[in-house]
Symmetry: C2
Subunit: 248 residues, 2 copies
Amino acid sequence: MGKITVVGIGPGNLDEMTPKARRAIEEADTIAGYNTYIKLIEPLLEGKKVIGTGMMQEIDRCRAAAEEAKDKNVAVVSSGDAGVYGMAGLVLEITQAMPEDTRPSVEVAAGVSALSAAAAVLGAPLMHDFAVISLSDLLTEWTTIEKRLRAAAEADFVTVIYNPKSKKRADNIKKAAEIMLRHKSPDTPVGIVTAAGREGERKVISDLAHFTGEEITMFSLVIIGNSKTYVKEGRMITPRGYENKEQL
Amino acid sequence: MGKITVVGIGPGNLDEMTPKARRAIEEADTIAGYNTYIKLIEPLLEGKKVIGTGMMQEIDRCRAAAEEAKDKNVAVVSSGDAGVYGMAGLVLEITQAMPEDTRPSVEVAAGVSALSAAAAVLGAPLMHDFAVISLSDLLTEWTTIEKRLRAAAEADFVTVIYNPKSKKRADNIKKAAEIMLRHKSPDTPVGIVTAAGREGERKVISDLAHFTGEEITMFSLVIIGNSKTYVKEGRMITPRGYENKEQL
């Protein structure tokens, strides 16, 4: 019987992929993943079978990978960390539904997540408690997303927004910012990082009052500060709280 | 002028450290970090000056690193990701307070965070929105921590608990579980991962009703599911929601 390793490739450059993840890809017979991410690891794919499909076909892609893994070594790749809104869950769900005699083993190789990559570009916004919320309402009711945005804002979490915008839901990020503004100060810093760790990486630091979301693409992550977050010399910093104990 | 790279070394084995992080350590003249983490990267330290101190001396250690970096290349290491409750913030705060003519440049090299490492060990608990909360009340009022635990439970976030236990605050995790129980079902899965990715790694999967926290040490991370999280064949899985659209 074969196996599947669900691999987090990190932000997308080989320099930020762990040796464990890289080896899982190099040793695999077959690689499955969203085309955009397959392209990022092209140097590692020579001689391998590739199951690449467009967005929105996650289930079919995972099923094909599981079928392949009955007698082969397969790597299913996610950008960032496969364990954060990645393919780890779907691969486990689909393989656990297979009959035991053909079921491949599954391992997850963690990667540098998009939230870690974006935080590093911005400075140090995640030094204190944070909430991570996806604005994609394809698989989640918008009312649930709204409830979580409200809870995060009310309890003064730093808030990390995944999937802030797509063609079909360009306005969700504006609605999210409005909800945040009801509970957070207008001068709360907002960091937008696009293509972190990849060609064309860029960051914009703004605040809730001036936030328009124009710079946001499908490859952006947005981090909204807590009540103590500040911006200094282009870095977004959420203090851990040492200054309560001692003058820095 | 010198520079500081704040390096996330990942869970603690060289196989899960990014090449970028490794290179930052290899190219540094001086390494600063908590002794426990310094030990994990010992193979990389030959011929380097090491500023290692015990816990609770973060500020002094960062100051010494900043002083050193006036004319040297310094790496300040954090386990996991330096950008998640790590040293990135303190290094930026301390260097930004230095006079410009001696101030080193600062870069953050992201790592595989403890939450990503623990999630990979447990299965796929972070496929949906999650809150990350530290139970350390050394630098944060307990009332703030409680408010965030309550908000995370009420809004049905998966909840990741950092610093669940130390000698001085062995009971915080029990209080946290009690708060969770007021809003979450008693059969909500709870995963405890200790020393993820290191020698002696172990996991325990329990639920809120049976959770005692006995297995927890200073090197544990706790992940509490949302209302949809389930355990199957030893894996803790939070469904992304595909099953709402299609039978898996």
